[in-house]
């Protein structure tokens, strides 16, 4: 009799998974760390964060300069999503375009590192810059607590929403950056794409029925409205995660495609 267990040994045993995870973690971390360091050692991160704060600061002041100001972040949060359409392309344009221009992508792709590790590591690096920048806007929130009594629910959901919205725009920018070695082209492409994804919401307003629903379903800003009202809808969270996953997947495939062409 043959020993059954010796026949059906799974190909991917635990002993193969652990080193895989270890090396993936190490490689992704190395890319992430290098990228983050590059942003913070150059003036880039500070300029980009500074511009974001200047614009949102203005929006914040405007939102509380009314006769009956509201102690909420909604006033500046909603218009600031528009800022991301320009801000994210500026942040992400160099991520892969520069690697192609410098020829370092060849170096990465001939190193024992997987393509998705490059993409994920870089995505998390810009995500950290997004989070760092947004954390500085907490100053506005502190002022709200100082002078008023804001509702904590919409505040948290608002921040969750803006993080998801921002992360989605970064993923779009990353795909654009993988398509070209020219940073300006990358920025313009991602700007155009993001604008289109936001404008579908307005297109939805002038149409009715199914087409309006579809347009709204695709809209980046349409899914944000609930968050700023204090509603956390799984539907919206799934939407943003899908956008992020889709664009990162396409970026990875695009990088990989160099190996088949």
């Amino acid at each position: 009799m043959k020993n059954v267990s010796s026949v059906a040994v799974p190909k991917l045993s635990m002993s193969g998974v652990v080193p895989f995870l270890q090396s993936t973690w190490r490689n992704t971390w190395a890319i992430f760390w290098k990228e983050t360091k590059t942003y913070f050692t150059s003036p880039m991160a500070y300029i980009i964060a500074g511009v974001f704060l200047a614009i949102t600061g203005y929006l914040f002041v405007q939102s509380i300069s009314t006769t009956f100001p509201e102690a909420s972040i909604r006033g500046w949060l909603e218009p600031s999503t528009t800022v991301f359409i320009l801000w994210s392309p500026a942040l992400t344009m160099r991520l892969l375009a520069e690697e192609q221009k410098l020829g370092t992508l060849e170096l990465l792709m001939t190193s024992p590192i997987r393509d998705f590790e490059i993409v994920i590591g870089k995505f998390f690096a810009v995500l950290v810059i997004l989070l760092a920048t947004l954390s500085l806007t907490l100053f506005y929130t502190m002022m709200l607590f100082w002078f008023g009594d804001p509702d904590i629910g919409p505040l948290l959901s608002g921040y969750l929403g803006i993080i998801l919205f921002g992360a989605a725009t970064l993923a779009v920018g990353m795909l654009a950056s993988s398509l070209t070695s020219n940073q300006v082209v990358a920025a313009v492409v991602s700007f155009g794409f993001l604008l289109l994804m936001v404008l579908t919401n307005q297109a939805a307003d002038i149409t009715t029925g199914l087409s309006a629903q579809i347009l709204e379903g695709f809209s980046l800003s349409g899914h944000f409205e609930d968050f700023s009202r204090g509603i956390i809808d799984t539907n919206n969270i799934v939407y943003y995660f899908s956008v992020i996953a889709t664009f990162l997947f396409l970026t990875i495939r695009n990088i990989e495609s160099r190996r088949w062409r």
Partner: protein, 318 residues
């Protein structure tokens, strides 16, 4: 341990309709230093990119240390140190940070990485610049940084694409010396379009033209095959009529020609193969109390080699 470190079988690569590499096969044994010689656009870089797993072959296969570059790409890449033609550098990093980053993604542990960074920097003589930003380095030092990166993880196979292009002559000599040293420890494939470089460093030469291997031999054999005569160039200060007469009197000289250049008089001296007349020329000049400004062997250019190997006039305009 596989004896063959690089194995290429029937490798073909099309870029769209353009045939870049046409069914080539070759092997590189462990410890061998092989020169890949060919003009620009002959398929050297394409072949190297396929070997390093950057590009896929259209057909055929390539393997490094027994690992197929397509099906076991990661394993194959672990055994390679690669210096592409345009040195890939993160200009906003310091030399040390750059090496540390590349060591990390090659899975080197911290303690080993530290030792290896020191070693690689010492090897390529970058000691004074290890904390400098790469953007501030001159072309020669950038090339060295690229080399340091390639040898950092002590790869079994080193693939260097035109390692001496665009750096000054002193650095070229140093780089060749380094390549020679590396060749004693590692399997090495380097591409170049300069013949003396191959004879100075390689055990074996593979000549490639228009995607085909046109010759494969040791540098010495190739030189004999290709060169009927030796050519020496000398810049001599002195009365040209007398100088040329004296040169023609040197035993072994088959012909001599006088050319007036912007800097003075130049003489092209030809002699039979294997007969180096440089010493005789130098002695003659000294004996006559003339001034010897320059004396060198005229290397046979690759274009000449190709003309000889392919026998085609049609290559002249290429």
């Amino acid at each position: 341990m596989p004896e063959l470190m690089i194995e290429v079988k029937g490798l073909t690569k099309y870029y769209g309709d353009h045939l870049a590499v046409d069914d080539i096969s070759f092997e590189v044994k462990k410890g061998e230093v092989v020169g890949f010689l060919g003009p620009n656009g002959s398929g050297k870089t394409t072949t190297m990119r396929i070997l390093t797993g950057y590009l896929p072959p259209s057909s055929g296969s390539a393997s490094i240390a027994g690992f197929d570059t397509m099906t076991s790409s990661l394993d194959a890449r672990r055994h390679i140190g690669y210096l592409p033609e345009t040195v890939p550098l993160y200009t906003d990093m310091t030399v040390e940070d750059y090496l540390r980053f590349l060591g990390t993604i090659r899975g080197m542990r911290k303690d080993r990485l530290k030792i290896r960074i020191d070693n690689a920097i010492e090897r390529v003589k970058l000691g004074d610049y290890r904390k400098s930003f790469i953007s501030k380095l001159s072309k020669g030092y950038r090339q060295r940084t690229g080399l340091a990166q390639a040898i950092l993880h002590e790869p079994e196979v080193l693939i260097l694409d035109e390692p001496t292009v665009g750096i000054d002559p002193i650095q070229v000599v140093e780089t060749r010396q380094l390549i020679k040293e590396l060749g004693q420890e590692q399997t090495l494939l380097l591409s170049t379009h300069i013949l003396p470089e191959v004879s100075a460093t390689c055990d074996r030469v593979i000549i490639i033209n228009e995607g085909n291997i046109v010759a494969e031999d040791t540098p010495d054999n190739l030189a004999v095959r290709l060169r009927g005569t030796e050519q020496v160039q000398a810049d001599i200060r002195g009365p040209s009529a007398e100088v040329i007469k004296a040169i023609r009197d040197i035993p072994g000289v088959t012909s001599a020609r006088h050319i007036e250049t912007a800097t003075g008089s130049r003489y092209n001296i030809e002699s039979a193969s294997g007969n180096d007349v440089r010493e005789a020329v130098a002695t003659m000049v000294v004996n006559n109390s003339w001034g010897l400004l320059q004396l060198s062997v005229v290397p046979m250019s690759l274009e000449e080699i190709f003309l000889e190997l392919t026998g085609g006039e049609e290559h002249e305009d290429a």
